[in-house]
């Protein structure tokens, strides 16, 4: 057949390299409103839920039971469930109805009812609702810091730069699992160099992740996955009870943590039971609520390719973020894994969370080039720093980042690399040369730094665990080498786990280690002129970009 020229051009566009699929409800390839989704219902007898969403108690799977017993307020559920879907949706967008009022009502809703409410809303209404329902008043952002070689010097430098650019949380993971202790250590030092009080985590298998936290190398955890069907939960090697126990284990060591879930994971793992992605995800959110975890990373996360392929999938992702806020949980709203070849599409997807603001708009933004991102790439990366900053400036919206000058970036990258060099020397780890420090300072990514002896590094990383190195050893090593400011920062981070203030919903730390959470910084949005507004200082920071010409640049 003769090709039509315009269709040839369109076929070559990036968006046409993306994957799309028609709705297929039988296997769960449907974003919202599967014909197999249950009809909302609730029956309470003697203070116990005896039927939920059409399922009698003796037929509950373990997720149903956990939600019914731990996540639903039986004192109000019958009244809440009797309300019209649109009446609840209108409360979500009505600036005259307070966040607290909505939160109280949502405590009585079942998963199917929440889905029914969300399905009455378009994305603009959902964004309005997120603006009001987000738990913390101030929005924030999180990044990934990794590289293909697990080069610790580069992790320290990239972490320092990202912290300075504004990320309040940073997450690393590994290319090689046994490198994990070094990645965590390097990020800890990088974070406290770039901006005192930046929180860090290392995403690993559950037990190892907890161990690094207990040692005081990491400050919080996030990779604690929950799923929406029992089969997938079991495939993930957990149950709501094991995960709830793990949550308490973290809190018992004074460590902040959140769960992770997302639409599409059940389809991807082959057990969606014909339910819509959003229905299954709402079950995850309610398991999180029932477990008493302060927050959740969701928004499809690493399964984004699945909802992104079906109609209304990006809307469903926003709906799951919104649901998390409705249940009064911190939301780290994904915008992480790469899902499209199209710059237009990836931007449109992110505006859903960036415009209303969430507790962490990205979870995370790649603070390294995409080739170094060990979370399978991110929707945003270091090459987009200026785009992000200019979108903030264009729309006068706070996306959590700030423009940075080359001089200050060089300075913090260098300092972090030197600090890590000193700590490695002090703790007897394989030497970091001055050439490596220099390379990491000026590098864009791992292609720009010399290779390290991986065998020696891994051996030493294991030793670090065997010797029982803790955050306090890092404090001492830094102080002994003249990095008293960084030593103080690491110590202050460790002290957070004594008071437990940062265990609370949506907690972050400012540069003086004051906790900002949804307890002392509660979202009080009630329409124009209320809620979070950019301060004069913050707006000046956002609008001052080096690219903007000034009249004084002209010699006329």
């Amino acid at each position: 057949m003769r090709k039509q020229k315009r269709f040839e051009v369109l076929a070559a566009r990036p968006v046409n390299q993306d994957g799309f699929v028609v709705e297929w409800p039988e296997v769960g390839l449907i974003a919202m409103g599967s014909p197999n989704d249950p009809t909302p219902s609730i029956k309470v007898q003697n203070g116990q839920v005896i039927e939920m969403d059409g399922i009698a108690r003796d037929k509950f799977d373990f997720i149903d039971q956990f939600i019914a017993d731990y996540a639903i307020d039986v004192s109000i559920t019958e009244k809440a469930m009797a309300m019209e879907d649109t009446a609840i949706a209108k409360m979500l967008v009505d600036v005259n109805v307070s966040r607290d009022e909505v939160v109280r009502l949502v405590r009585g809703l079942t998963p199917a009812k929440i889905v029914a409410v969300l399905d009455t809303m378009n994305v603009v209404e959902m964004m309005m609702a997120v603006q009001k329902m987000r738990a913390r008043k101030i929005p924030s952002n999180q990044c990934h810091i990794t590289n293909v070689n697990d080069n610790p010097v580069l992790i320290a430098a990239d972490g320092a730069e990202a912290a300075m650019r504004g990320f309040d949380e940073m997450e690393t993971t590994v290319a090689v699992v046994r490198y994990a202790p070094f990645n965590a250590l390097a990020l800890l030092i990088g974070a406290q160099t770039g901006r005192a009080g930046t929180l860090i985590q290392c995403a690993l298998e559950e037990a190892t992740e907890l161990q690094l936290g207990m040692r005081g190398i990491t400050a919080y955890a996030e990779t604690i996955s929950v799923y929406g069907t029992e089969n997938v939960f079991v495939d993930g090697d957990d149950t709501p009870w094991s995960k709830a126990f793990l949550a308490s284990a973290y809190a018992s060591r004074g460590l902040k943590m959140r769960f992770t879930s997302g639409t599409g994971s059940e389809v991807q793992m082959g057990y969606a039971e014909g339910k819509s992605m959003l229905y299954l995800e709402v079950r995850c959110i309610m398991v999180t609520k029932g477990a008493g975890v302060q927050g959740l990373q969701n928004g499809s996360v690493s399964c984004v390719g699945v909802p992104a392929a079906v109609p209304s999938g990006i809307r469903a992702i926003l709906a799951e973020n919104l649901c998390t806020t409705m249940l009064d949980l911190e939301v780290a709203s994904s915008n992480d894994q790469t899902f499209t070849h199209s710059d237009i599409r990836r931007t449109a997807r992110t505006l859903m969370q960036m415009l209303p603001g969430t507790d962490f708009i990205c979870s995370g933004y790649s603070g390294v080039p995409n080739y170094d991102n060990m979370f399978a790439g991110s929707n945003w990366d270091v090459d987009d720093y200026d785009d992000w900053n200019i979108i903030q400036r264009d729309l006068k919206v706070d996306g959590g980042l700030r423009p940075a000058s080359e001089d200050e970036v060089i300075a913090v990258r260098n300092k972090a690399a030197r600090a890590l060099q000193a700590v490695f020397k002090e703790l007897g780890f394989p030497a970091i040369t001055d050439a490596e420090v220099e390379a990491a300072t000026y590098a864009h990514g791992s292609k720009d730094v010399p290779a390290r002896n991986v065998v020696e590094d891994i051996k030493a990383a294991q030793e670090m665990m065997n010797r029982g190195i803790t955050g306090l050893d890092v404090v001492k090593a830094l102080a002994k080498n003249g990095f008293n400011d960084l030593a103080t920062n690491v110590l202050n981070l460790l002290k957070q786990r004594i008071s437990g203030d940062y265990l609370h919903t949506s907690a972050i730390l400012d540069k003086d280690f004051n906790v900002i959470s949804a307890v002392n910084s509660r979202n009080d949005y009630r329409g124009p002129g209320t809620g979070y507004r950019l301060s004069e200082e913050r707006w000046n920071e956002i609008k001052t970009i080096s690219q903007a010409i000034k009249p004084s640049d002209f010699d006329v």
Binding site: Q17, G19, V27, L29, Q48, A56, K59, F60, F62, Q65, D69, Y70, V103, R104, E206, A207, L210, G216, E230, V234, T239, W241, S242, F245, L246, S248, A249, Y250, A251, S252, R253, G290, A291, G292, Q294, G305, V306, A309, F339, A376, T470, G471, L472, V475, K476, A479, K480, A487, T488, L494, K495, R497, I498, G500, D501, H504, T505, V515, V519, N520
Partner: protein, 174 residues
């Protein structure tokens, strides 16, 4: 990564797994929360700044005792930078005060778990994973929690898990 490939893989995978076996079901009870001590989230939080006198490490130190100098000379030990059960219960009160009751219950379970050593915590977590334990083994863990560590809420929680796992066939099949 190719999205097209991902979507195709999923379709293939779901076609292979079209038929799944459903299972039967039974009951259980939620955890209770303890009495309040009158903390007000608006005036007492953050505790470190507003009520530092209430915050003590498990070793009896205050936040002011944890200084860089003392960290350097070894007076601050790892056990000094841990949270105490009392502090967790205070934070649970704050959580209740802002209407986050499930979170408060989590903090109260955590308060009990402070008594259990790190390694044992990790072992218990693994034992609670699906197909890892028999009902008797989970009951033994619950007894250990209750009688050795006085972790009563957690003990009830583990017993509840054992019943659910039995009903849903998630116990270890010997």
């Amino acid at each position: 990564m190719s999205q097209q490939q991902l979507v195709e893989d999923i379709i293939r995978e779901v076609l292979k797994n079209m038929y799944k076996t459903p299972q039967g079901a039974a009951p259980a009870a939620p955890a209770a929360s303890a009495a309040a001590r009158g903390l007000n989230p608006a005036t007492d939080y953050p505790l470190a700044a507003k009520r530092p006198e209430l915050v003590k490490t498990p070793t009896g130190k205050t936040l002011a005792d944890i200084t860089l100098e003392k960290a350097i000379n070894g007076e601050v030990k790892p056990e000094d930078v841990r949270i105490s059960p009392e502090t967790l219960r205070l934070q649970a009160e704050i959580a209740d005060g802002v209407g986050r009751n499930q979170f408060a219950s989590n903090l109260r379970r955590a308060a009990e778990l402070t008594a259990i050593p790190d390694d044992r915590i990790l072992e218990i977590y693994n034992a609670l994973r699906p197909y890892r334990s028999s009902k008797q083994e989970l009951f033994a863990i619950a007894d250990e929690m209750e009688f050795k560590y006085n972790a009563k809420i957690n003990a009830a929680f583990v017993r509840e898990a054992a019943e659910v796992y039995e009903r849903r066939n998630r116990l270890r099949a010997d």
